[in-house]
Symmetry: C2
Subunit: 346 residues, 2 copies
């Protein structure tokens, strides 16, 4: 349709204008020359209000997340790649195969089109690498000062193989707790970018789509009880949420939790608890003890689970406490924060 | 989980705080006492990152829309009911049965919880009345001045019956164009609320879920070629988009287009073109001429299609023009606006 426009969109020097959200030709041009050009696939190209998809065999899953991370660009990713990874991961945490994504953009008037193009290109790359296409979308524009650059909401749809029953309320006393890798990287990367901090070793977000890791895990150990990605609120909030949902206590070993030395150092300097910091490419898994060894081996065989470790065990506890055995041999209850250590982390 | 909170959420007097988006206990309390309390259904209550849904037989459809309408409340609806209706309608425009919705909220710090509760209650009502549950959601909070009260993104999933092939590129020369009712009500209702205008007769938004009307239409006339709801950009933008997609010309009769007298009057006073104004409960349908009479009868038999009318016809035209035959007997090309007459209408 871009044949209707006398001049192509000025992606290098232009900015988002209110007309780009008006439903008229300016919006069609933005969609054609920026979104379709980057994200293009045969389904998105249908150009109808809804994307028409083939039938999907099996139970469906659906998940949505709004992304408001600030700043928009950070070491290891940006709001675009994160909006793809995060929603793929939420789908994968039910053991499902993610099939499709939708993306809705809220743009602030004045946003440089170059920033938008860079973010959309990053989404396109993340979507291609994950093999999960963005099949439909929407663009709205609000006046300057009524948003913060841009917000993206992605929604995912997937299918779960028969026989899997992976859920937050399925954990049983005796289950082993596994963690796929080091924690805290994402939150500290965002914070360092936001505050202009620099460390001896650069800290990058771990933002990644873990559905491939999950596919290997459920293929090898379909008895997995629960998967969850420790994003907002970190490991502490996630473990407390799961203890509550399943009605169990959880005991974790501090010495078993992988934390990069530079992240540990940054947390010490900044007075932050690494257990409360968001991750974007990690998962926690619960399985019956007889399958733990096999599951750990499968996780370690995948690039995103190389540093996987057994970190604890579920026990009977009517109080549903999450307890940490420290490296000093003491034990403390890991409470659940009221808010968050860091706002707008995702 | 609300047993963990010493005090219930102060919905009457409280405000959204940054902690409500932090992934900790404050967020869990907001979700439990406000979102779950209003929207509650067995799927939403699963409480996992993704909603687990039964298998769906048939081709899937998926659609997403961000809602940024200002003001949040307007005659005939609010951002909440609109976010439900609008996405259901986008799903229905493929002839599909809408099955599930997700909802992602971006809240501005300081938003009165009473406003949020009223909006979520309105979503719950719209969802119940439409029979399409909200099965999963997300809540983020941004600092004061970084959003505008709240934005909602809803995504819908549905299934299309075998044999239907309804799309924007399916219109053929000779097809008859039908419109389900009066146009311009939504845009003028929003504008009057925003600008504090009052008219002799109150103008209400037409915001409604039209999937029931569509179900009747496709059951009676599966030969329908195309359905589209004339939202942003109104009838002009929608018809121009479809003429382009299908490679046809469209000719419509001004005298055949239903417009409420009060809306026509308001447009005259305000210098607005009713053909360019957004609607939220109307649809345009295209069908082969031999089915037009039957389709019109089915539409008029439904409460949301009582005022349905045949408004024009598709013709061969390599220029893909949309032309209006005026009540004066003249003819003019209906161009497609560059932006929109009214910003933030949906």
């Amino acid at each position: 349709m871009s044949g209707r426009f006398t001049r192509p969109l000025d992606i290098a020097g232009g900015r988002v204008e209110m007309t780009h959200g008006g439903g008229g030709r300016a919006m069609v041009q933005l969609v054609a020359e920026l979104f379709q050009a980057e994200l293009g696939n045969p389904i998105l190209a249908q150009g109808n209000d809804a994307a028409l998809l083939p039938p999907a065999a099996g139970r469906l899953v659906m998940s949505t997340d709004a992304y408001v991370v600030s700043p928009l660009f950070f070491p290891g990713g940006d709001i675009g790649s994160m909006a793809v990874h995060g929603t793929i991961n939420d789908i994968a945490m039910s053991g499902a195969q993610p099939l499709y994504l939708s993306a809705a953009f809220i743009l602030e008037e004045g946003l440089p089109l170059a920033d938008l193009a860079r973010i959309v290109a990053s989404m396109a790359r993340a979507s291609r690498e994950a093999g999960v296409p963005i099949v439909t979308g929407d663009t709205k524009v609000v006046e300057r000062g009524k948003a913060d650059g841009l917000f993206i909401t992605t929604t995912g749809v997937g299918v779960v193989a028969d026989g899997l029953m992976i859920a937050g309320d399925a954990i049983r006393s005796g289950d082993v707790i596994l963690l796929s890798g080091s924690i805290g990287d994402h939150g500290i990367a965002i914070l360092s970018q936001r505050e202009g901090l620099s460390f001896s070793v650069p800290i990058e977000s771990d933002s990644a789509a873990v559905h491939g890791l999950v596919a290997d895990m459920v293929a090898a150990v379909p008895e997995i009880r629960c998967l969850r990605d420790p994003t907002r609120g970190g490991l502490s909030a996630t473990l407390n949420e799961l203890a509550t949902q399943s009605g169990v206590g959880l005991v974790i070993e501090e010495s078993a939790i992988p934390i990069l030395p530079v992240v540990r150092g940054a947390c010490e300097i900044l007075g932050l608890d690494p257990l409360g910091i968001a991750n974007e490419g990690k998962l926690i898994a619960f399985c019956p003890p007889e399958h733990a060894e096999a599951l750990l081996a499968v996780m370690r065989a995948h690039p995103l689970g190389r540093d996987a470790a057994v970190i604890g065990v579920a026990i009977e506890d009517p109080r549903r406490f999450v307890r940490l055995r420290t490296t000093l041999g003491t034990e403390r209850v890991i409470d659940w924060m009221f808010g968050a250590q860091l706002p707008r982390i995702c």
